[in-house]
């Protein structure tokens, strides 16, 4: 649905986006992450026809954004990071204005506006002036506006910024609902845990270049966390280390946490956490459990190493900005 080929955008001597290649399939939620000034917003602005690329091409639904701007705009809903509102319009009027701007006929407008108001839970606010809404409500209104012309593609730049936890959860649910409706969504956010829960694929950009693009599963080998298991045992864990390190499938065993003495309060049992790294293609949780239990070690829990998008972000980017 979105194809970006060798996209470059320069501002004088500054290269904001450099030879970016990206492909997002129909119905995907694509998380676009990167440090401030990495080129996320510039890429999004090019996609929504607000900027012309210096070179390269960007296509949405097969349409070149530089040549078929008007058609692209009909297919895309864009929510910028800082959404300006018209302060002397009411919520209903604001949405009707955009409905008219997208060429929706007068007789259909009311039902469409009512529909998006309901979807974004803004029915009770339809008579309020737009600038009297809270930040969270304004973000919701922005999303309602984006949906007014039923676009195939949604490009959302930091839609959850400034929202309280409840509003963020609601926003997440709304995005899931939109995915069920078949929308293709490109979303950028600094709240990486948000993306982790809703994105099918992610792209990490730094200094205008794509550092990584793929599914969360595909990122594991890049980060070196594939084939790692956390093991918590009672006691100091020396016996467990001895038993595991001699196994031919295991590459290394290291202590990553220890709780020396019981605190006396109800909670975790005292013990040691080990990080067991298997050789490539040899991962087996059962082998660890069997070996430790047969060796007389008190096994508390066993957990494959989790991918944290925050960690991936930090590991893949250096925090260098233009």
């Amino acid at each position: 649905m979105i194809e970006i080929q060798k996209l470059t955008k320069t501002f004088g001597s500054l290269t904001a986006v450099s030879n970016l290649d990206l492909s997002i399939g129909a119905g995907d939620i694509f998380g676009f992450i990167g440090p401030n000034g990495a080129g996320k917003t510039t890429t999004m602005r090019i996609l929504v026809t607000l900027m012309e690329p210096t070179s390269g091409a960007a296509l949405i639904d097969g349409l070149d954004v530089t040549k078929k701007g008007k058609d692209v705009r009909r297919r895309v809903g864009y929510m910028p990071d800082f959404m300006g509102v018209y302060d002397d319009l009411k919520v209903f009027e604001y949405l009707e204005f955009f409905a008219a701007a997208f060429g929706i006929e007068f007789r259909k407008r009311k039902s469409i506006v009512d529909g998006v108001l309901e979807l974004t839970d803004l029915v009770s606010k339809q008579d309020a002036l737009v600038d009297s809404l809270s930040r969270g409500m304004q973000q919701r209104l922005g999303l309602a506006r984006v949906l007014i012309h039923d676009p195939k593609v949604l490009i959302l730049d930091e839609p959850a910024s400034g929202l309280d936890p409840r509003a963020r959860i609601e926003m997440r649910e709304l995005l899931r609902e939109l995915k069920r409706m078949g929308k293709t969504i490109m979303i950028s956010s600094h709240i990486l845990s948000e993306l982790e829960e809703i994105c099918d694929r992610i792209g990490i950009i730094e200094r205008g270049q794509l550092v990584f693009s793929g599914t969360l599963e595909e990122i594991r080998p890049r980060l070196g966390i594939q084939g790692k298991v956390r093991v918590k045992v009672l006691g100091e864990g020396l016996r467990a280390m001895e038993l595991l390190s001699v196994l031919p499938q295991i590459q290394s065993v290291e202590v990553i946490g220890a709780q020396a003495a019981p605190s006396g309060l109800a909670g975790e049992a005292p013990g040691t956490t080990l990080l067991v790294t298997f050789k490539e293609g040899q991962l087996s949780d059962g082998l660890i459990a069997r070996t430790l239990v047969q060796g007389g070690v008190d096994l508390v829990c066993l957990q494959p190493e989790q991918l944290k998008l925050d960690d991936a972000f930090l590991q893949l980017t250096q925090g260098i900005v233009h």
Binding site: P80, G84, D88, K90, E93, A101, L129
Partner: protein, 545 residues
């Protein structure tokens, strides 16, 4: 060993009074690009004005005789000085008002007002800082004109005390205009509303009240001499007339025996201090959201019909507002008064009509500039422009919608003014000059077109409302009055060439040439407006951020 800083009680006292904000404002004001653009524009306008005046009084009549120019140097010097003084008087007030009209709205929009108020910086510091930075521009512009006046002084016809007095009258008038604008910016979030309210206050104070007082004096209710003296002291326009050389006509009633320009300056400065004091008291309330809201909050939801862009600018526009009804009624009453009574013809009170009309046209032009240039620049400032441009609305639809909305918004004021002006011209001109009335209608229509095109162009081209509106007004004045306008240097030069050798200026040939040229000049005005409109369309998506 480090040198001990020299302690100066005056410096220390000033720093305590003005605070850190004044420091910051003065520093940033001198760095802003708009300050440089403003000064450049001012110098260009000033040069064009001097050139135009020179051509009108020497170039047009010398018929190639150099001695003629030399012999009339002092007369022309007086004329140029009069124009420069009047120009700087209007420009200084306009710029001070424009600069300060968005001072509080901008702080709130950027979210810095609340932050400032959580620091030890007081409301007094905020007001002084804003006032000083706004006035700095006006003072610098006045300083630019001073050498010009000094040179004119050497040519003769102008006295030092006139230069000195007009400088102080202009400065205190700018101080007052700036403080009124600053106070109003604590009531209105948008510079458009603050400036409109400021213009209304100015009209009421300096045109309406004197007119009413003069009428009462003429009717014998008030003492004529005392009223006149009182008005001279309170009114900067009258004070300027009283002390400046008089190249313009008609002249107001002569200044009374009690007139003293330093007293007038003290009164204006005192009034500015009082208004600024009121602004100090308003700052915290404005920061807490105590703005005057448009009546929009209480109106029902309006459904959209027609062009979405035009509708958005004023959703309740089809309902006439009270202010517009008042303007229309006032205009109608003035027309009836002018036509029915004929009492004001050749009366000294007629000067208020000139001023009133002139000021109202200036206000209408300012409002139109704010509606066209500000309509786009404001959206850029708020971040809504990029959202609008992601809709399938075409460039033509957006610009046409903006222009339509601006015209619709100002229609009542513009049409009322045009009607009154027509009545006034028909009353004041003789039968053979009635054709001039048609030319005048063309002049106003061309001006509106030029202003709309210029406003749209600078709205698209520039990022901030103040800069876009200032650039629009400066370009409008430059094009309309100095390139293709009736009194432009170019017009004077062409007249000089075309009519060289004609002695009888009231001959039908001269009249015809003059009419044709003026009509052509206004058509050129119209063309410039359309060209800029077209440029705005081409650049609509080039300067979004």
């Amino acid at each position: 060993m480090q040198a001990m800083p020299t302690f100066s009680p005056l410096h220390y006292g000033l720093r305590r009074l003005l605070g850190a904000l004044s420091d910051k404002e003065l520093r940033s004001a001198s760095r802003r690009r708009r300050s440089y653009a403003l000064r450049s524009g001012y110098i260009v306008l000033l040069c064009a004005l001097m050139l135009a005046t020179w051509y009108r009084f020497i170039g047009l009549q010398n018929a190639g005789v150099a001695a003629f120019g030399v012999s009339r140097a002092s007369v022309v010097s007086l004329q140029v000085a009069g124009q420069v003084i009047m120009f700087q008087f209007v420009a200084a007030q306009l710029i001070a008002a424009l600069m300060l009209s968005s001072s509080m709205g901008d702080e709130l929009h950027r979210g810095t007002l609340g932050v400032l108020l959580t620091t030890p910086i007081t409301s007094l510091h905020i007001v002084l800082g804003k006032l000083l930075s706004g006035l700095l521009q006006s003072v610098l512009l006045l300083a630019i004109s001073l050498p010009v006046l000094a040179i004119l002084r050497v040519l003769g016809g102008l006295a030092w005390n006139e230069v000195f007095a007009t400088f102080w009258i202009t400065l205190t008038a700018a101080l007052f205009a700036g403080s009124v604008s600053l106070l109003l910016s604590t009531y209105y979030r948008h510079s458009f509303s603050a400036l409109s309210a400021g213009a209304a206050v100015y009209l009421a104070l300096f045109i309406g009240l004197p007119f009413a007082a003069s009428c009462l004096a003429a009717a014998g209710v008030l003492n004529q001499a005392a009223t006149s003296a009182f008005l001279d002291l309170l009114n900067p326009f009258r004070s300027l007339h009283a002390v400046a050389p008089q190249p313009w006509r008609p002249r107001p009633p002569a200044a009374g025996a009690f007139f003293s320009w330093p007293v007038h300056c003290l009164i204006m400065a005192g009034a500015a201090v009082a208004v600024s004091g009121a602004a100090v008291g308003r700052i915290r309330r404005a920061a807490a959201g105590g703005w005057l809201r448009p009546a929009g909050g209480f109106r029902p939801v309006e459904r959209l019909h027609g062009s979405p862009v035009a509708w958005k600018e004023d959703p309740a526009g089809h309902v006439w507002r009270k202010g517009e009804i008042a303007i229309a009624v006032l205009a109608l009453a003035t027309c009836v008064l002018l036509v029915a009574t004929k009492r004001f013809r050749n009366s000294p009170l007629m000067v208020y009509h000139y001023y009133g009309l002139g000021s109202l046209w200036l206000m209408a032009y300012l409002r139109l500039a704010l509606a066209t240039a500000g309509g786009i620049a404001r959206e850029k400032e708020s971040g809504a422009w990029q959202v609008l441009l992601t809709t399938p609305l075409g460039e033509r639809q957006i610009l046409w919608g903006k222009a339509k909305a601006a015209w619709r918004r100002e229609a009542v004021l513009l049409l009322s003014l045009l009607t009154v002006e027509m009545c006034f011209l028909l009353e004041a001109t003789d039968a053979q000059d009635r054709l001039m009335v048609v030319v005048y209608v063309l002049f106003r229509l061309a001006a509106v077109c030029l202003l709309t095109g210029t406003g749209l162009y600078f709205g698209v081209r520039l990022r901030t409302t103040t800069l876009a509106v200032a650039a629009t007004l400066l370009t409008f004045l430059f094009v309309n009055y100095f390139i293709v306008g009736q009194h432009s240097a170019l017009s004077a030069w062409i007249f000089g060439k075309l009519l060289a050798g004609y002695i009888n200026w009231s001959s039908p040939t001269v009249q015809l040439v003059s009419l044709v040229w003026m009509a052509a000049a206004y058509l050129l005005d119209l063309a410039v407006g359309l060209v800029l409109w077209r440029r705005a369309r081409r650049n609509l998506r080039a300067y979004i951020f």
